[in-house]
Amino acid sequence: MTTKPALQPVIVGAGPAGIRAAQTLAAHGVRPVLIDEAARGGGQIYRRPPAHFKRTPATLYGTEAARATALHGTLDGLHAQIDYQPDSLVWNAQGGLLDVLHGPTQTTRTVPYGQLIVASGATDRVLPVPGWTLPGVYTLGGAQVALKFQGCAIGSRVVLMGTGPLLYLVAYQYAKAGAMVAAVLDTARFADQLAAVPAMLTQPAVFAKGVYYVGWLRAHGVPIHSGIRPVRVLGDGRVAGVVWADGAGREHTLSCDAVGFGYALRSETQLADLLGCRFAWAPMHRAHLPERDAAGRSSVRGVYLAGDGAGILGADAAEWAGELAALALLQDHGTAVDAARMQALQGQLHRLMRFRQGLERAFPFPTDWAAHAPDALVVCRCENITAGDLRACVRETGADEMNRLKALTRVGMGRCQGRSCGVAAAEILAQATGQPVERVGRLRGQAPIKPVPIHLQARQATDAGASA
């Protein structure tokens, strides 16, 4: 064998996973590059408000304040040991180079890597409801970001609907921050939650927190309805209310001036896709995800995956997975690492799987969503494509695969490139063709990962190895 190549790790994503990965590498005397699109590290859950922002971590992160502070502290303490590059979007990857757009200056540069840890996190999983394009409708994550980042609520009388742990968390955070939560509308049934209790008890502390949020909401008079189906958001120019159906099919109307909705999260996988990672259907996540081994190695040599970007497991798991991926990277490079620590982290992640399955049980994906989606429902808001358009395409052309559906209808061809509408379009396609959703395939990834200004100014001083 020839000489060992220089260790040149790059981490994409400064959330819990990326920060722990950076810390672990630094602790082993390696100086990683940490690239993050956000202005300040912390990721989605511990998103940090702008520096001049006055609210305390306790008000911002509630029960998670200590964790948030710890993670932020870790990153702040690492500045001398890592090359931290905030405000930087990785928009392309090819041949050992990342193309990185620096937001504030609108310049692009290339960053070479020998090893890469992808910790790109997640965004909301959206299943639209008629009326969701009205001003005043947000995703649950968006609603939370408004609170954490901008310190404002999305409305004064807010309905939160969908399902997933974030539903109750956001409701709690909103109510706690003084917003009026008109109702929590959960598509999961109470029976689902009961059935999930044994599995959820494998993480008693997390479970207790969930129980606490629900209890707190009830104690403060916030109505919680389970087993519902969102029917439509009402309004003329702006949200005025929601209509939902109860388990017996009876419709109810509730007035409000804002709606937050979502169905748990979906992994951000474009970068893994551009890097050539092999994907496989992951039934628990109801998604095609990049494959990884127990330590986070992808199918591509030198590329590691950690955190929600490779499957939704939550913030604690993201921290463990970030550390583990960094250890695996070091190990693969011949650096001595604490094997027992790796074992322990793998054990922790493994045990979490049962809890994660419990969550799926407690907040199941509403598999009947597509069957109830009316033809007039806008699925893709960039291109204004309705469920009916998609069904007509299936009828008229026999399209039975996502990329074909996209080519023929433009669904997923807008600015979001399917990141928002892809989940819903796949569900509609599966329903219209009578196939299980895993069979309809996944949208192919291409650069750029997010829209990039065409008037790109190539930064002059590119890192070594940059192409002409």
Binding site: M413, G414, A468
Partner: protein
Amino acid sequence: MSSSTPRTIKTDVAIVGGGIVGASAALALRRQGVDVVLLERDLCGSRSSGVNYGGVRRQGRPLSQLPLAQRAHEIWARLPALIGTDGEYQRTGHFKIARSEADMAALEHYAHLSRDFDLGIELISGERLRAQCPWLGGKAVGGSLCVDDGQANPRLVSPAFALAAQRAGAQIFERSPLTRIEHDGRQLFTLHSGTALEVSAPVVLNCAGAWAGAMAEQFGEPVPLRSGHPAMMVTEPLPYFMQWSLGVEGGGIYCRQVARGNLVLGGGSGFWLDGDRARSERSAIASLTVQAVELLPALKHAHFIRTWSGTEGYLPDRQPVLCKSRTTPGLIHGFGFAGAGFQIGPAVGEVLAELARDGHTSTPIDAFSLARFDTPPAPAAGATPTTTTAQAH
């Protein structure tokens, strides 16, 4: 899933490849009442034919392609009647830009050479150009407009050819790769798609695009076919301002704006991922962004939202292979369109149908014979008009 006894079908003509070429051949054959089976490895129109730039242009083609291009031009005019959709085809004009006096002279020369084909080319320069298209950046000194050339949406057009052929009675098998083909030495081919399907036919059309070389080689006709990957880019929708599809003399960039408002740009090349798929090369993306703003200053504040590429077959002279096999009766080739086969595809399909049914065609295709690779190519002395077409659209 698959049974051990394959489904067996006898047919008049078997076609390998469901791109615009194979699918339009299938449609043309059905319109003549000939039985057709088409095998497509993936989905019809999912390769070059469905991912190309969408330029439907005659201008700039080598003179040898103009008879085909003219024939295709007639077919494009009848598109809705023929395939049941207009495929967003519009005769918006194709404007080829000159960035120097020398470029302008080259365009004049081409207009002169092609005058017998009546392309309706109009040369525009100076003041008139500025007045007619204020959105053009300062680099353009003039250009050549072919008013009846245009653009279409390949994602819609190419699958629609296959669908139309199917409606007309062609048996189309998607996700059915040709895995083996034999000839009995006399008059019958047997095509196998795994263990699922067996097709026997006296005539086979090799329309497998960039992957057509294997079959030619198997039948004793090795071809210097290689893959090429034109790089593509699309912007977010912008207010509609540009009707023409633009090319540039000497190549480098081409672009058009679709009715939805997005600009589709092409230029430079991509790289292959796995033999089937390709992406745009980073250097191509960089160069496209620079040239785009130079050509159309209005793009300065736009974002591009996606890049992509495709896999297309190229022969050394950038001319296709369209001919009967010289080793194997019944085998007919139609591939290697070098990044420019979308416009002529429908005519190529008709020509292949004629060759299959009648053994000859009224359209001159001698320039596309495999025979041209028999002898070492003559030294490239005097430049021919083909040098002006070294771009993929």
